[in-house]
Each structure stands twice: as structure tokens, then as C-alpha cells.
Amino acid sequence: MKILVAVKQVPDTATQVKISADPRAIDTTGITWIVSPYDEFAVEEALRIKEKRGQGEVVAVSLGPERVKEALRSCLAMGCDRAIHLNDPAWNDADTLVTSKALAAVVKQEAPQLLLCGRQAIDDDMGAVAAQLAELLGWPCASWIMEEAIDGDGKTVRTARQVEGGLEVFDLPLPAVLTAQKGLNEPRYPTLRGIMGAKKKEIRDVKAADLGWAPEPPQLSVVTLEALPPRPPGRILQGDVPTAVKELVRSLREEAKAI
């Protein structure tokens, strides 16, 4: 079974982000980049499916600038067999729809049985690309899955997706799109052997022209980025516990009107 995993490279949440001279973008100097955490759950799940079935191929796909190779390299180190890098300035301003269209073109070429994505990318937090890929491909989609099981023939996948108040279980015919979230699995760390092996694995560069890509304007664009408005300074309530608690309850009722 061939499985594609779409991974996005994002700034590590621990690093500071600053707005650049162009107020629509962040200043990328000094940023540590990581594979978006939800995408690691997706990679892990793909590897587990392959291992369980004893055969198959896991291909990591990412759209982004040259630095994205590093993220793909860490997916290869985790155990992905090869990687595809959509690497072209034509996609510099990509919104989720443009990203989805470009990824969909590659998915069509590769024709996997399963496409795994993260629940959302932790930079833009859109949570849109997977569903949009499903729409463009005409595939069924289950988002926020907590478990999955593919039948022996590799024809359908049974998934439980998280909804308010419970889990909804569906059978999806393959090919299908699934989005991974925390709780699905525990991603592995690359082993030293994995890291060494990754250097020999293929990362194929795909240019817009390779996909017969016609220029496509983004449908959503950033007007400006802004810093958060500062929160009003807080207050540490003094005194022993009963005193501080009484003051807290009074403040919540009278000042904050929160209770």
C-alpha cells in the first residue's frame, strides 16, 4: 500500500516570532523550524500501517522553500521511504487553496491509496488543507481521527473521528484522506541509523512547470500581522489563603463580572 503524508514545516513554538519589515510576513532570521507536530502523528501512523501490513511505501510531501528539505529529511529519518518537495517561487504566496491544488496535482501523479495530513498546521492554524485536498480529489475525508484500521484487502479504512461528546465511526473506501491528531499515536524519535539512512533517500524536487501549473492567485491574503494588544497588568492577591481567596471571589464578581 502506498501512503502519502503531507507535512508542513513551521516555526518551533518555543522560538520568538517577530514581524518583518514587510508587515505581512514574519522575520525568519534565527527561527528554529520543525515538522508541524500534528504532521508527526500523521507520519507515525503511516509508518505503523506499513509495518503492520509488512509492505508498502510511505512518501512524505511538502510544499515550501528550500529550508523545507530539512523537515522532509527528518521524516525520512523517522522511516519514510522517499520525499517530494514542491519547491517553486510560484507558490510563495500560497493560501490553503493554492497549497491544496498544488498538493492535489502531486497526489494525482503518485496515486496513493491513502493520504494522511495533520489536523492543522501550527503556524497558520487553518485546519483546511486536508479537507480541501479531499474536495479537489473527490475523496472521502475523516478529520481529527483517534484510531484507524485498514481491512486486509486494503479496500476500506475504519476510522473513529473526534466530535463533540464522543467518537463517530465511519468506513471509508480507499483512497481517502485522514487527518491525525494527538491521541492517535506517539511519534517515534529517529534512530541514529534512521538519520544516517535518510541521507541516502530520495527527495524529489517538483517545480510548478512539472505539474503544468498555471499561475493561481491566492484567495485569502494577509493584510497585516500585528502584535497582540497587551493584557492589562494582573494583580497577585496578597494575604493568607482564606484572605486571598475571598478577595479573588469578590474581584471576579465585582470587577471582572466573570461569575
Binding site: V169, K182, V222, P232, L237, V249
Partner: protein, 326 residues
């Protein structure tokens, strides 16, 4: 209508819209000066539900009622909604951030070939374009975004927008277009209900109590649940508590958990790591109880108590009880 702001209805699966719809309709009506319309895809709508939407300010309800529409499947909903949108040409399509609406409107936007702004916290008309504000980079920055063309598709973060007041007597025309439902690829197997805690849903609650590693073990969450019952709160947790197996994943607050924006958030034994803040920093009032005065959560807290939570929680529950019995 070409100027309509559609509001995709989130319901309780029993024929009533959820209260978050008051926020969506309220905001849609505000931005569009009273052009909010509800679009309800369901297998069962009740008269009371339809009245409720009207009282919140929907001038029209598009009711797509069909057994095939429940439970939600994106592939079916999209066809039905896209057909109606092609005919009615709404100016915007709003939905609350819920597990299904988030997926649904993303798919719908792709079908319509338009932009999507997810998890918005503010909207403003600038001339004749809509500008949405949404948190990005773990909530460290705000992005103002705009669309290349209509319909402007967006999801709204719950508890952020002012809910419309229900005005009894307000009515809406109910249109019942026949919904084309595509043959389903996805086959529904079953729904597994969560064991109910009897407390509100984390993402919907107006008050959230969050217990971190400072809770010291799963057995201590009862003290937060006791307080939660007194004040009608939900109980969440930090990732450290979830990863320790103290609480199920669905209770995790933060970047790799749920995003919440309650009127009141109270953290107990939570240090306030950036990834935790990402999921709760738009809360209106933040309270932190931590025995370490240097804990980063105090930097964003409106009120803090530096003390042992095991002393504070019972005392606080007692005081809340006293207050609310008055």
C-alpha cells in the same frame, strides 16, 4: 440574497441550534447590518429550533432537511450547500469552530473556489471588503486577512463574539429547497458516546478550570470537578497532565489540544508554557493559582494567588458556594 451573510447552523443533533449560533448570527448581523440568514443542514429540525434562529436575528432560514445529512459527512453536505450557494450567491458564509463545521466550510470553500479564514476573533468592513482577524503562530501574533472574492468563508471562535439577544416575536421566512445529496462514499458505523462528566463541553463552556502537573495525580481532579459543579464550569488539563495519563486527550488545552476562549479561565498547578497559552490566551479573564511566583502564567493572569492549590481549591469552592447561594 446577494448581500446575505449565511450562518451554518451547529445543532445538538436533536433539532435545536446550539447557543454558539447566537454569537455567529449576532456577528453576521452586525457586520452585514441585519442581513444574517441561517443555513441548516440536518435530518431533524424542530419548530422551536427555527423560532430560536429567527429570534436571534436570522431573517431567513434555509432548511435542508434530509435523512442523508446526519450524521455529518463532508462529501454530502458540500454538494447540497454548494448547489444552494451557486443559486443564492451569499456574500459570506460564517460557521462556528466545531469539529464538523471546521472541516465542512474548508471543503465548501474549495468547491466554490474561494478563500477561507478559520478561527476568527474579529471582523470589520473596510470599504466594501471584509477584513478578519485571526490568531497565528501559537497566538503570538494576530493576522488581518481578506478575501479575493465572495463568498467570504470564515469560522468564528466560540465565546469571543457578543451573542445576539433573542428577541421574542422576531420571525424568519423558512425556505425548504430540495437538497441534492450525492451518493455517500463514507458509511456510518456507530457513534460512541463519551462517559458524560455532567459538566459542560470544554470548547463551549463559559468557565474553564484547568489542572496541570501541580495536581499531582488523577485522583485529585475531583476537587476541580466539585468546584466546576458549583459554578457550571468545564474541567480541562495541561498536556503534562494528559501525557501522564491523568486525563483523556479530549480534555487537553493548548496547541495540540483544544482552543478555548471562555469568559473565565482558572489554571491550577499550570506553569503557563507557550503551547498551553496558545489554547487559552483569548480567554477574557485569567486566574492563576501556582505556588511558584515565577511561573510564566502569572504574566498573562488578571488575578493570581501564589499558594498551594490544595489549600486554595477547597477554600475557593466554599466561597463560590457562599456567593452563589446568596
Amino acid at each position: 440574497m446577494a448581500n446575505a451573510f449565511w450562518c451554518i447552523v451547529e445543532d445538538d443533533r436533536r433539532g435545536a441550534p446550539k447557543k454558539v449560533m447566537a454569537e455567529v448570527i449576532g456577528e453576521a448581523a452586525r457586520v452585514s447590518s441585519g442581513q444574517a440568514e441561517a443555513v441548516w443542514l440536518t435530518d431533524t429540525a424542530t419548530e422551536a429550533g427555527l423560532t430560536q434562529l429567527a429570534e436571534w436575528g436570522a431573517t431567513k432560514v434555509w432548511l435542508l432537511e434530509n435523512a442523508a445529512l446526519a450524521p455529518y459527512r463532508g462529501e454530502i453536505w458540500v454538494g447540497a450547500a454548494a448547489e444552494l450557494a451557486a443559486k443564492e450567491r451569499p456574500k459570506a458564509i460564517f460557521a462556528p469552530v466545531t469539529s464538523r463545521a471546521r472541516e465542512f466550510v474548508a471543503r465548501l470553500a474549495a468547491r466554490l473556489g474561494v478563500g477561507l479564514a478559520a478561527d476568527c476573533v474579529a471582523f470589520a468592513m473596510e470599504g466594501d471588503r471584509l477584513v478578519a482577524t485571526r490568531p497565528v503562530y501559537a497566538g503570538k501574533l494576530l493576522a488581518k486577512v481578506t478575501w479575493a472574492k465572495t463568498p467570504w468563508v470564515a469560522t468564528l471562535r466560540p465565546n469571543v463574539f457578543r451573542p445576539a439577544e433573542a428577541r421574542p416575536g422576531r420571525t424568519a421566512t423558512v425556505e425548504r429547497p430540495t437538497a441534492a445529496t450525492a451518493a455517500a462514499q463514507m458509511r456510518f458505523v456507530e457513534r460512541r458516546e463519551e462517559v458524560s462528566t455532567g459538566l459542560p463541553e470544554l470548547t463551549e463552556a463559559e468557565i474553564v478550570l484547568s489542572g496541570g502537573r501541580g495536581m499531582k495525580g488523577p485522583e485529585h481532579y475531583v476537587i476541580l470537578e466539585d468546584m466546576a459543579r458549583v459554578i457550571g464550569a468545564a474541567v480541562g488539563a495541561s498536556r503534562a497532565a494528559v501525557d501522564a495519563g491523568w486525563r483523556p486527550h479530549r480534555f487537553q488545552i493548548g496547541q495540540t489540544g483544544r482552543t478555548i476562549s471562555p469568559k473565565l479561565y482558572m489554571g491550577f498547578g499550570v506553569s503557563g508554557a507557550i503551547q498551553h497559552l496558545a489554547g487559552m490566551r483569548t480567554s477574557k479573564v485569567i486566574v492563576a493559582v501556582n505556588k511558584d511566583a515565577e511561573a510564566p502564567i502569572f504574566k498573562i493572569a488578571d488575578y493570581g494567588i501564589v499558594a498551594d492549590l490544595f489549600e486554595v481549591v477547597p477554600e475557593l469552592t466554599k466561597e463560590f458556594k457562599k456567593l452563589l447561594e446568596k
